[in-house]
Symmetry: C3
Subunit: 137 residues, 3 copies
């Protein structure tokens, strides 16, 4: 498997392990020093894989989430580093029944260490975010 394919599968695991709440597996897709930036739509910058995981466990408790990623633009910047942009859509169903349906792009960097690619930085920009109560149950 070449590096571009390996990075695509890394992002696939990011989405799948997040939505199935496999937190131990999810932690492995992030570097220890990962920087997650959601300031584009009012969020924060979180530094560190453990810190981000702790944030997610609380923020997503009792939610049902769907994260979808599309049409990656991966560019190798060295044999052990790469940049990537992914179109994304996410859905979060909150415990009170509110649904978020959002759209945007992940702008990321990746790092290969010990033969494994991980996400080193991720900034999410938004095209649109819709909040709604479900039309029916």
């Amino acid at each position: 498997m070449d590096d571009i394919e390996a990075i695509k599968q890394l992002k696939a695991r990011y989405c799948r392990l997040l939505d199935t709440k496999d937190w131990e597996g999810y932690r492995q897709v992030l570097t220890d020093d990962v920087v997650i930036d959601t300031t584009d739509y009012g969020g924060n910058v979180v530094t560190g894989g453990d810190a981000f995981l702790e944030f997610l466990r609380v923020a997503l408790a009792d939610t049902v989430t769907v994260h979808q990623c599309h049409t990656p633009e991966i560019t190798m910047t060295s044999p052990s580093s790469a940049d990537g942009i992914w179109a994304m859509e996410d859905r979060v169903r909150f415990p009170d029944g509110t649904d978020l349906n959002g759209f945007g792009h992940y702008h990321e960097t990746y790092e290969k260490a010990d033969g494994t690619w991980r996400i080193k930085a991720s900034k999410l920009t938004r095209l649109r975010m819709d909040f709604a109560k479900p039309a029916s149950g």
Copy 2:
């Protein structure tokens, strides 16, 4: 085209031929002994490409369907076999106007015979299934 790319295009045809109801073409993406497992959300196990096609023709008659697959995780297990996981979203508009919008993952195996990859087994797990009447027509 390498095997991983060929398997991605196999699943692309699975979705496209299903949604365009090209049943003859669709049958070709399945092995004769394919096992389709939808027990995760109350369905059955159907064995055999012909049997599954017969089931689909009836179940999807007069529906409009959209099947989307994302972020494949394909792993070669031998030169002629592979495993794969795909994030998926489906929409089914039933004749009475009810809309299903579902989300989940296909967990699959693939087999190469006579130079052609086909789906040998597929189990669908679900994150979420929403049923609704359309908000407007």
Copy 3:
């Protein structure tokens, strides 16, 4: 990066530059003589990258759009030409609040010139188009 991967990234830029309204960048993904065919659902045939861009600038002014492309079927037809089919979903939020959510397939040809792949022809067929007022704001 091989040609199939380069064409996938071409289509990724098509979606991203369109949705971020980076019109100068978007123009670069189209050949000068591109043919865009939307007659399948009541549209026109537009010939020429400049003409299509002029059409889009007006049609999409003050809209918010999301274009997603899935599961490409890219086939090389010569070292400098290829065919492709993409599953697609688009969302357009019009200035009056009306939402379009459409589904279909792009049937395309690509051309490589001066080392760069561009879209030479694109015909969009539709599975379904839904128009709605947003359920909430």
